[in-house]
């Protein structure tokens, strides 16, 4: 790959124009509903320039900053999974006709999406979902199509929120692989790394100059500063075994008293992948649609086997969530299911913090 380039801040619109000209729909952070969410943008004006977010357990606010940076915030309520693994999918359709039933597979119209502003933890989350949906004998072809069609422009975080713990999960804040282009926002422009030949093809016509040593140093300083801002830590040493040998700890009762079983943590988690499939008939029963929707281990019905819930209290459902994410995910996929993005902590309506719960249940030390 080429060595790092420098994109002057005034030329950021050119990168966007290039993507649009190549037929990409550009999805990026933008302000909506008092939050920084992911949505389609048409111009760099749509980016949350001069805004940042404030996060605590169960708390999120956006506020203006004193600078005019484009990417001076962390991750919000949305994650890219809403594009790669949409919350509602139509899988197939059965139609009754004179010749009997016919079946058709439905697939969403392929779209070329460019994700602008993907953070390191989110790159890691995409990799985790790749393993879930693409590895092994059963490939989710819809996911595959969407994933292959998407162009990823990562952004290195310039700040960390009090809920970020990517350094513990070895997922950030520095974007290392899994992108086509990666940007680091400096005072006067973007330090650009090219991660793929597709990235090269996109950036080439912009005829950028190579980044200078000074740019490189500024970028390195920024990475170090962000790392030092990460204040939340999770001890992952032998975490799988520590959790699995404390399945009956009394502290599970304490979290169960607070947990609402509301599913927010699983919905906002960029790696949670559960869904349920249901058949929905038309009124006259001549068309039956097979729909797939995001579901959650916190839902009672999701745990039903032959109509009877096997995890019939909040305690066992919270335990299922936490131990799957941090322990049995290793057994299933050979890695942790958590990238330390902090979303489940911020968006829990009662501020339950999994790192605090882990420490309570099996101690901070191994």
């Amino acid at each position: 790959m080429t060595s790092p380039l420098f994109l002057p801040v005034a030329e950021l619109p050119k990168l966007l124009a290039r993507l649009l000209e190549l037929g990409y729909k550009v999805i990026a952070p933008t302000i909506d509903q008092e939050a920084i969410v992911y949505s389609e943008i048409q111009s760099v004006e749509d980016l949350p320039r001069g805004w940042t977010d404030e996060q605590e357990p169960g708390h999120y606010r956006i506020k203006p900053t004193s600078n005019d940076r484009y990417f001076d915030y962390v991750v919000g309520p949305h994650s890219w999974k809403k594009y790669l693994f949409p919350p509602l999918q139509l899988i197939s359709r059965a139609i009754s006709g004179e010749e009997g039933w016919t079946f058709e597979t439905c697939s969403d119209a392929p779209e070329q999406l460019a994700f602008l502003g993907v953070r390191a933890c989110e790159l890691a989350a995409m990799k985790i979902q790749d393993r879930v949906f693409l590895d092994g004998a059963y490939v989710d072809t819809g996911y595959q199509r969407r994933r292959e069609g998407s162009f990823v422009i990562a952004v290195n975080c310039s700040v960390a929120s009090p809920n970020c713990f990517c350094t513990s999960m070895n997922s950030g804040p520095r974007c290392k692989t899994g992108f086509d282009l990666a940007l680091t926002e400096l005072d006067d422009g973007m330090f650009v790394e090219v991660g793929s030949s597709r990235g090269q093809d996109v950036i080439e016509p912009l005829s950028l100059h190579a980044a200078t040593t000074q740019h490189l140093n500024s970028a390195e300083n920024l990475y170090a500063r962000t790392v030092s801002q990460v204040s939340k830590h999770l001890n992952t040493d032998d975490l799988r075994n520590r959790l699995m040998s404390n399945l009956n700890d009394g502290k599970w009762d304490s979290v169960a008293e607070r947990c609402l079983s509301c599913t927010n943590c699983t919905m906002v988690c960029p790696t949670c992948f559960c869904s349920h499939v249901s058949e929905v008939p038309s009124l006259d029963e001549t068309v039956v649609e097979r729909q797939r929707k995001w579901d959650s281990c916190f839902n009672l019905e999701f745990t039903a086997v032959h109509g009877t819930p096997v995890r019939n209290d909040v305690r066992s459902r919270y335990r299922q969530w936490l131990t799957h994410k941090l322990a049995t995910w290793h057994d299933q996929f050979g890695e942790s299911g958590c990238v330390g993005c902090g979303r489940c902590i911020t968006w829990c309506p009662v501020g339950i913090d999994l790192t605090v719960e882990v420490n309570a249940i099996c101690g901070g030390e191994s």
Partner: protein, 261 residues
Amino acid sequence: MSNKLRLGVFKFASCDGCQLSLLNAEDELLALAEKLEIAHFLEASSIIGAGPFDVSLVEGSISTEADLQRIKDVRRLSKTLITIGACATSGGIQALRNGASYEEFVRAVYPSPEFIHSLETATPISQHVPVDFELRGCPVNTKQLVQILVDHLHGRRIRVPNHSVCRDCKLSGTVCVTVARGLPCLGPVTQAGCGAICPEFTRGCYGCYGPAHQSNPSSLMAWLSGHQHPVEQLVPLLQNFNAAAPAFSNAAKELQEGARR
């Protein structure tokens, strides 16, 4: 005798909103006309059909002496009895009088209280007769209502999801109004069904569909009251259309007791 399914619709103490949800389904009802005969539905037609009924939809709570007898008659005449709405399922807003002074309520509400002859409590249908299915909501969702009727017509078990409203906010991309704006919202402890419309319009959920499965309003209230929401705001939030649903009324009681301490 036709082999159509005979439907009866009955009203007790209620506002008629749930029956309107059924009327709103006129296109679907027409489509079902070959399979379903509306034998008794005073809100829609003055024909008073005699029983028995294959399915009866019951709106409203039991609020008078006469109701006590009439619900038994409806039950006797109905193969399947489905209650519709918060009144029928938990008592409705009129159940606010339960546990309060009935006399005071009557005097406060009616200019001529001497004409009022009702019970001291408004109670859900299931407290008086066996109920086959309770469809939640204030009012019920037309789509869910049609769906359960169609499911029943085709011999499928009737069921609706019992997860929280929050899941629907997340599916539609609605940003949480509690976390991002500090509005109190009952969504995490309320059963879905409405499609999370209030948060979509920047309102906290009012709890129209009653407590979600294994609902934990005490924890939510403890968090909200610790985050600048006074008890005077939270108790009325719980005391809406499902005030008498045990999970909500217990949480309201805890808040009031906590405030007194």
